[in-house]
């Protein structure tokens, strides 16, 4: 569409510019295009919530690495962790500012292994069969972490507990719930939603919602 379409009668409910760099401006500045702010934590998933007992839980990194590595739940909890306060945007249009998590940086997970020179992509796999793909350039340098606490409490199963990937700079479907593995590869393989019409990269600031955006 060339000229911008205007919806008859629509005014909207936005807060006016204060011009003084106030809180409303700050919140608006942090809201990606097409998103609205919420203080809720909506649950979205494609099927039943998996429930793996912690004594049978593990996290594995394999693929183009010097040696595959697996942590049990206790070993995973013993890894250096930190608090993260990040803005999250879901492709279903909600954005929640300053979500508080505790978890382990993907950089930390990769510390004890060497990546193959051809390593360029990661694909996360999960209980329930969910997968999502990310270029390594989108997860390294503290851009992604595996979270096991949200807002000071263990991560609830419907929110991806016991542990989920969190990639704040991408739409939230890239933050795979119930993560159990990360496979490193040299080729980009579309994951679950990426194969069902959603964008391969999912940068919320470029509004890369769907295939072709």
């Amino acid at each position: 569409m060339g000229e911008r379409f205007v919806t008859r009668g629509f005014v909207g409910r936005r807060e006016p510019d204060s011009g003084a760099g106030g809180l409303a401006d700050e919140r608006r500045r942090r809201t990606p295009p097409g998103q609205y702010l919420t203080d809720d934590f909506p649950v979205l998933s494609a099927g039943p919530t998996p429930r793996t007992p912690l004594d049978r839980w593990s996290l594995t990194i394999d693929g183009l690495v010097s040696k595959p590595i697996t942590w049990s739940w206790e070993e995973f909890l013993a890894l250096p962790a930190r608090d993260w306060v990040v803005d999250i945007s879901c492709v279903t249009k909600w954005t929640h500012l300053d979500m508080r998590w505790r978890g382990v940086s993907v950089d930390t997970l990769l510390e004890s292994i060497d990546l193959d020179a051809k390593a360029a992509f990661a694909i996360a796999s999960c209980d329930g069969g969910y997968t999502t793909n990310l270029p390594l350039a989108d997860v390294l340098n503290n851009q992604a972490f595996v979270a096991y606490e949200y807002d000071g409490a263990p991560l609830a199963p419907e929110h991806g507990g016991p542990a989920r990937l969190v990639v704040p700079a991408r739409y939230f479907w890239k933050s795979a719930k119930w993560i159990r593995g990360i496979r490193i590869g040299d080729r980009d393989e579309p994951g679950f939603w990426e194969s069902l019409g959603y964008n391969n990269r999912g940068d919320q600031w470029l509004e890369e919602r769907y295939s072709g955006d």
């Binding site: 569409m1 911008r4 379409f5 205007v6 919806t7 008859r8 009668g9 629509f10 005014v11 909207g12 409910r13 936005r14 097409g34 609205y36 919420t38 809720d40 909506p42 649950v43 979205l44 998933s45 494609a46 099927g47 039943p48 919530t49 998996p50 279903t92 249009k93 909600w94 329930g128 069969g129 419907e158 679950f192 939603w193 069902l196 019409g197 919602r209 769907y210 295939s211 072709g212 955006d213």
Partner: protein, 244 residues
């Protein structure tokens, strides 16, 4: 292949309940959809401010060139009160779609089919029920539909008609807060016992689709797994409290 924004013309407005209204959007360039998919709707003000929301498609794909959406009015919302109070036939709205490729059912997938709805979560399931009837395949299907009261049952009359057609579809209502005099149906929130009773005639090969508030969908999906349905035959879509 990008999903382009299209200009749809509102050709019909219909009240389903006191707080739920359906809109028919004429879309000459519509490429078709699968039952269960949704559209994105974009509203733009004079100064360029715009908002987007996703709405499930209520109509069956057999109706070419137009789609229905059904919108619950959320008090304090930015979009649904506008759609209810301002939009009239002849207005134009920007939409794009269809979107979503997992929460879909087509007659070719077969059955038996179990549709479990909570409130306005019935909308994508209605597209499946309407498609099932139009496709004429006779796939055995049941809908379990949770509403708060008799005046809040979306598509009540049409669901009765679909069930009366005698082609293998029936609907089981539960009314959780208010029941009419003489009501002898379910009068509580969906629980595992209710699911077992509704699932029983369909059997273990059932494909299940559940849509509604998170608590309902969690109860239904977990309950169906415990009742023996494989997780990959249970597909869910959730309406959080923020879908305004």
């Amino acid at each position: 292949m990008a999903i382009d924004w299209l200009l749809g013309t509102v050709t019909g407005v219909r009240d389903e309940t006191p707080t739920v209204r359906s809109f028919t959007l004429g879309l000459p360039a519509w490429t078709g959809h699968r039952p269960g998919q949704h559209i994105d709707l974009r509203l733009t003000a004079e100064d360029g401010y715009s908002v987007e929301r996703s709405y499930s498609i209520a109509s069956e794909p057999e109706r070419g060139g137009e789609v229905d959406i059904t919108v619950e009015r959320i008090e304090g919302g930015e979009v649904s009160p506008f759609l209810h109070e301002v939009v009239v036939p002849g207005d134009r709205l920007e939409v794009r779609g269809p979107i979503g490729g997992y929460f879909v059912w087509e007659a070719g997938l077969g059955g038996p089919l179990l549709l479990v709805a909570g409130g306005s979560g019935v909308v994508p399931l209605m597209a499946m029920a309407r498609h099932r009837a139009r496709a004429g395949t006779g796939v055995v299907a049941r809908m379990l539909f949770s509403s708060r009261g008799p005046d809040e049952v979306i598509y009540a009359e049409e669901l009765d008609q679909l069930a009366a057609a005698g082609d293998g579809f029936d609907v089981v209502h539960t009314l959780t807060r208010r029941q009419p005099a003489g009501w002898n149906g379910y009068a509580r929130r969906i629980d595992e016992q209710m699911l077992a009773e509704v699932l029983e005639p369909l059997g273990a090969g059932t494909r299940a689709y559940a849509c509604g508030p998170t608590a309902l969908v969690e109860t239904v999906a977990n309950g169906l797994v415990r009742l023996g349905l494989p997780p990959d035959r249970i597909r869910t879509e959730r309406f959080g409290p923020t879908g305004t």
